[in-house]
Structure formats: C-alpha cells, structure tokens
C-alpha cells in the first residue's frame, strides 16, 4: 500500500472543508448551515493535528483545544440566537430574513 504522507491529510481536510463550505452555500436551514460551519472547523482540527504530528510539535494540538472551546462557545451563542429568532419569526430559514437591504 502506498505511504500515507501529510499531503493526504491535507487533501482530506481540504475536501472536508469544501464540503462544509458547500453545505453552507446550498442549505437554507440555519441549523444545518451551522453544522456545516462546525464541519469546517473540524476539518481545520484534523489538519492541525496531522501537522503537529508531522512537526512533532504539540502546540498544534493545543490550538485544536482552543478551537474546540471557542467552537463550543459559538455553538452556545449561535443556538441561543436561533432560538430567539425562532420565537419571533417562527422560522429558521435564512432566506426568511431579508428585511435589511438596499
């Protein structure tokens, strides 16, 4: 079997990231979009861990911890915002919200 080197991980996480981006672009449900963003972040985590493994340098993994913590905070805030919006608008379809324009 061929050697799995860093480029494979790079490719994998890039693909994951793009899937996340695509999801953000093509889904209309705010919660799903939100999950896709989380997917993007996770692809970054994967990339960082593999890099830190490559460099034998733990700081990359520590950074991953920070990303996780921050992501959690974002989840909390994001869900809170979504709940607030659902209460007022009874919808989480992002295209429902286009009052602000021009």
């Amino acid at each position: 079997m061929a050697a799995i080197n860093i480029d494979h991980y790079l490719l994998l996480s890039a693909v994951l990231f793009c899937i996340g981006v695509a999801g953000v672009l093509f889904r209309r449900n705010a919660i799903v979009i939100f999950m896709c963003i989380e997917l993007m972040l996770n692809s970054v985590n994967l990339l960082l861990t593999s890099f830190s493994n490559q460099h034998n340098d733990p700081s990359g993994q520590i950074f991953v911890f920070f990303i996780m913590a921050v992501a959690a905070a974002e989840v909390a805030v994001g869900l809170a915002i979504l709940v607030m919006i659902y209460r007022n608008a009874k919808s989480v379809d992002i295209d429902f919200f286009n009052k602000l324009k021009e």
Binding site: V24, L25, R28, I94, D95, N98, K101, E102
Partner: protein, 632 residues
C-alpha cells in the same frame, strides 16, 4: 515682529469664536463692535507691515507649530508676509472692514445678525489664512475654508431651499476646482518633494522652460483657480451666489473669495513663467470668460446679477493679464477692482434696502433724488469700472490692454471691445436705476429713503478710493511727466520671477487714451439717449413687442446703433445666457450627482439582504482571490 503677523488672521478667528459661541446672548451693539474691531485691528497691523515694506523690509515669516510630518515632508502651520501678501492683506482687511461696518447697518434687523457677523469674521480669517500661508497646504486649508464660508453665507437664509441649493452648487463647483488643486499639490510634492513656496520655487528655477511636469502642475492648479475665481466653465455658481445677503456678495466678489485664484496664480508665477503653454491657456480662458460674461451682463435686469456678471468679466481681465505674464498688472486690477466692485455692490445693497428688497431695475429709475449719496458714489463706481480716464479702473485696464497688445493684437481687439461692453452695461444699469422716472409701486415710492450713515460712510470711503486708487500705478507717459514712477509695480516687483516689461510707444498710449475717451463718450451719449431721453425700458420677459415701440422714435444713428451693435449683442447675450449658461453648465453640474445616483442604485442591487446570496458572493470573492493570485 515676525510673531505679530500671526495676529492678523487670529484676531478675526477670535471674533468668530466669541460671537459664534455667545451668539444671541450678546447685545447686538456688542456683536458689531467685536466683529469690526477685530478686523480693523488686523487692518492696522497689515498697514503697519505695509509701511515697513515701503521702508524696505524684505519678508516676515513665522511658524506657529509643526503641522505635518509625513514621508520626509515637513510642513509647519507657518505664515509668511511678502510684498504680494502685504497688498492682499490691505485689500482683504481694508475692504473687509468697510463691508463689516456696512453690514452693521444692513443686517441690523435680521434675527440671525450675530451668526452673520461671525460668519463674516470666519470668512475673513480663512481668506487671510489663504494669502498668508507659506506653503500650499496652508493655502489649501484657507482655500477650502472660504469655500465652506461662502457656502454658509450664500445659504445664510437657510429657510429658502433655492438659496440652499445655490450654496450647494457653489460648494460642488468649488470642489471640482479643488480636486484639480489637490492633484496639483500632490504632483508638486511628487516632483519637488516639498510644498513650501520657497523650496518649490527654488527647485523649479532649475527646470527648463516648457517642462511637461511643470505644465501639468500649472494646469491642474489653474483648474482650482477656475473653480474659485469663477471662470469658464465653472463660473455659474457666482451669479447664483447672489442669493446671499448683499454684503456677502460684496465680500465674495471684491475682497476675498474670487481673488483667491488670481492670488494663487500670481503666487506660483515662477511655475507659470516656466510653462508658456499654461500661460496661453490662462489668457485664452480669461479672454473668453471676459467677453461672454460681458455680453450676458448686457441683458440682465437684476441689479445684482449685472454686477455679478461684470465681476466674472473683470476676473477674466485679470486672468488675461496673468496669462500674458503681466502679473503685477493683474494684481493691480485686483486691487482697483476690489475698490469699485465693493462700492458698486454696497450701493446696490443700499438701493435694494431702500426699495424694500426689490432687485429688478425695471421697477427702479429716478432714484437720484431719493438716494443722493448712493447715487453719487454709485456713479463714481460706474465711471471707475468703465475705465473713464483718471479713475482707478482706467489705469489698471489700460495696463492690461497694453500688455495684451504686446502679446497679441487680436486679443487686444477682443479685450478692448469687451471693456467697451463693460461701459455699456454699467451705464445702462446706472441710467435705468437712478434716472428717468420711478417705475416701482407707490408703496415702494413712499418708503424710499437714503440709508443710514453707518452704511453710507463706507460707500464714500470706497468711492474716494475708486477715484484716486489708480494713481499708484500710472502709465509710463504720465509717470514721466509727473516724475513719479509706477509705485505699484515697483512695490510688487520683488515677488515676481523675471518680470516682463510692457513699455509701449507713447503714441500708442495716447491713441489708446483718445480712443477710450471717444468710445466712452459715444457709449455715454447713446446709452443716455436711449435709457433717459427715450425712456427705453428693457422689455418684460413676457412681452416681446415693446422692442418695436423702442424703435419708433429713433434717430437714424440709433437705428444704426441698434442694427449694428445692439441686436447682435442681444442675440449673443441671449444665446450665451439661455443655452450655454443655463443648459450646458448647469446640466453638467446637476448631472454629476445624477450619474452617481445611477451607479449607486446599480451597486445596491447586490445588497439583496439575503444571507444566502452574501455567503455565495463571499465565496466567489475568495475564489477570485485565489484565481487572481494564481494568474499573477
């Protein structure tokens, strides 16, 4: 001594702040006193400086504090007074002061009297900043400042939207000019890596004549001058600026704003000397403007509009002088013009005051007996501006004509003709306003009264100045006879880089003199005949027939006069005013915002408010970013 000069601008500023902050808490008398004393004291200082220059001082300069320090560019908020500045100072503070005095009487009853006076002070301050700065940035600060003030003052009666629009128009037009000025500044900085007059001019002297960069700079600067000094094509704001109170018009037209462009060109004469092409452009634009404005002036029936167009025309004269390289002459005309134009406007003001706000000369006439002082002083102004020999206007115009003759006889012919037109429309104005019988309502007739002395006093002073003002620059033949030299030229000479000599054969001078006298006499006779003896009144815009009535009882000469001169002139005047002035220029000016609006509405199409679209566009942006980098 060097420090004192910084007082000259700071005093009016102090006046502005004091009045502006206390505004209505101050008693009206107090307001008048503050605003006037500040300007008066800066006038006294300027006069003191002037004397010291006569004694042979070279130049004063002082730096209040380092202002800008960026990219190897070190500029201070620094003032400099040399001979050129000294002259401008005298004009600004002197005439400015008289206008201040006049305003006490004129604006007394306006509810916003304090605001008005504070604006006047601010205006004077910025103008002083403009002429006293020792580098282009300070000049630009003043430049923008007067623009702002003129905007504030033209739109002074802000309840009226038209006035506001006039103010906006003035501001936008000036901005177009400023754009050129700004670019010119940047180009100067890029070329000489400095903006200080001394350094720039020293460096410029090493450049060859007709160097393209210098030409570009001078042209850009001239764009600024065109905007500020109301030349073609950016002049229409000036007539509109009549919306402001009359003292403002006097201030804008005579002492301060419009002369800024002329001053700037004279200040940069080193650069203009180096670029003959720009000189040609300046002269040409000036000539066209002078001719066109004069023709338009022939047909105006609003007393202030006539004066406004005459200002544009006179400015054209100045630029012609500058264009052909007669800088001192141009400055000379600035000074004399300041005298008689201020006088004329203030007289107009007092007429309007007496007529209860009426500005249409067709409603006036025969005011001679009601407003004796105004009448006499106005007459002086008319004689001066029409260049009657021995009145101030004569000397400066004579010089300009001489200079143009040396430069190109064709231009001389045009300018001579234009100055004849000047006489025509000024006399027309004079006769229609002060002679014949009164054409206004009875109500107005009962209330006709001479203005209070606080208003007439400045008129007299200005009248005297407009009469004798010219003798500081007597033509060669005359000065030889009297053994006095051309005081003015000698005084200003130090600031001019390699001044040209425009000495003419005395025969030519005399023939010019004779020609002037004859022509003016003719003008005097015909206009008088027409507007007084025959009581011709310009036809109402509505009725067209009345023109034939005029022809009815005419002498043979009159018909020739009509056929050969008047009709064509009317036609041209009409054409310029109607087509050029109104449609094209205003069209352009109003067009600019329209275009921007269109673009804006196009741009906001993207702003759909849909989050999904935003995200897509954002990603597309990223993709473009990558593509862009990959392609490079």
């Amino acid at each position: 001594m060097d420090l004192i000069i910084s007082l000259i601008p700071l005093l009016p500023l102090a006046g502005f702040i004091l009045i502006g902050v206390l505004n209505k808490k101050l008693p009206k008398g107090m307001v008048g006193i503050i605003s006037n004393t500040t300007v008066l004291s800066s006038f006294i200082i300027s006069f003191y400086l002037f004397l010291s220059f006569i004694k042979g001082a070279d130049s004063y300069s002082t730096e209040l504090f380092p202002w800008i320090n960026a990219g190897g560019l070190h500029l201070g908020l620094s003032f400099m007074v040399d001979h050129l500045t000294a002259v401008m100072l005298l004009v600004i503070t002197g005439v400015g002061f008289l206008i201040h005095v006049y305003s006490i009487g004129y604006m007394q009853h306006d509810e916003d009297y304090p605001r008005f006076m504070s604006y006047l002070n601010l205006f004077v301050f910025f103008m002083l900043l403009l002429v006293m700065g020792s580098n282009y940035v300070v000049m630009f600060a003043g430049w923008e400042g007067v623009g702002l003030c003129s905007y504030l003052l033209i739109g002074f009666w802000f309840k009226n939207t038209d006035y506001n629009n006039a103010g906006r128009k003035a501001f936008v037009m000036n901005r177009i000019g400023d754009f050129g000025f700004l670019l010119g500044m940047f180009l100067i900085y890029q070329t000489f890596s400095s903006l200080d007059y001394k350094e720039v001019f020293e460096a410029a002297k090493n450049y060859p004549k007709g160097d393209p960069t210098i030409t570009a700079i001078t042209l850009l600067l001239f764009v600024g001058a065109v905007g500020k000094s109301a030349q073609i094509p950016l002049y229409t704001w000036l007539p509109d600026a009549m919306a402001g109170p009359t003292p403002v018009s006097a201030l804008i037209h005579a002492a301060t704003m419009v002369t800024a462009g002329v001053y700037m060109v004279i200040r940069s004469n080193v650069l203009y000397m180096l670029s003959p092409f720009s000189g040609e452009v300046v002269a040409f634009i000036g000539m066209i403007t002078a001719l066109m404005a004069a023709t338009i002036g022939l047909k105006q029936n609003d007393i202030k509009k006539v004066l406004a167009y005459s200002t544009v025309s006179q400015l054209g004269f100045m630029f012609v002088a500058l264009g052909v390289g007669a800088y001192t002459t141009g400055l000379f005309h600035v000074v004399t013009h300041a005298f008689f134009k201020a006088l004329l406007f203030l007289c107009a003001g007092s007429v309007i005051h007496a007529m209860g706000g009426e500005q249409d000369i067709r409603r006036m006439g025969g005011l001679k007996k009601y407003l004796p002082v105004t009448h006499i002083t106005f007459l002086m102004g008319v004689l001066a501006i029409s260049g009657i020999p021995l009145f101030s206007g004569f000397f400066s115009k004579d010089e300009i004509l001489a200079a143009t003759w040396v430069h190109s006889p064709l231009m001389f012919v045009v300018m001579a003709f234009t100055s004849l037109l000047t006489a025509v429309y000024m006399f027309r104005l004079y006769w229609l306003t002060f002679h014949g019988d009164f054409r206004g309502t009875h109500h107005q007739q009962e209330h006709l009264h001479e203005s209070p002395s606080v208003m007439t006093a400045p008129l007299m002073v200005l009248a005297i100045l407009s009469v004798i003002g010219g003798f500081m620059g007597m033509p060669h033949w005359m000065s030889e006879k009297l053994g006095v030299h051309h005081v003015f030229n000698e005084f200003v000479a130090p600031v001019i880089y390699s001044p040209k000599e425009f000495i003419l054969s005395h025969t030519f001078d005399f023939s010019l003199l004779i020609g002037t006298i004859v022509a003016l006499a003719a003008v005097y006779y015909f206009t008088r005949k027409m507007y007084v003896a025959d009581k011709v009144v310009p036809e109402e815009d509505s009725e067209t027939k009345s023109f034939q009535k005029v022809l009815a009882n005419k002498y043979y000469v009159d018909e020739i006069y009509d056929a050969v001169i008047r009709k064509p002139l009317d036609a041209i005047s009409e054409m310029f005013y109607k087509i050029f002035d109104i449609n094209i220029i205003d069209g352009i000016v109003n067009g600019i915002p329209k275009v921007t609006n269109l673009t804006a509405s196009a741009a906001r199409m993207l702003q759909t408010g849909r989050l999904g679209i935003y995200l897509v566009v954002m990603v597309i942006g990223v993709i473009y970013l990558f593509a862009f980098k990959l392609l490079l």
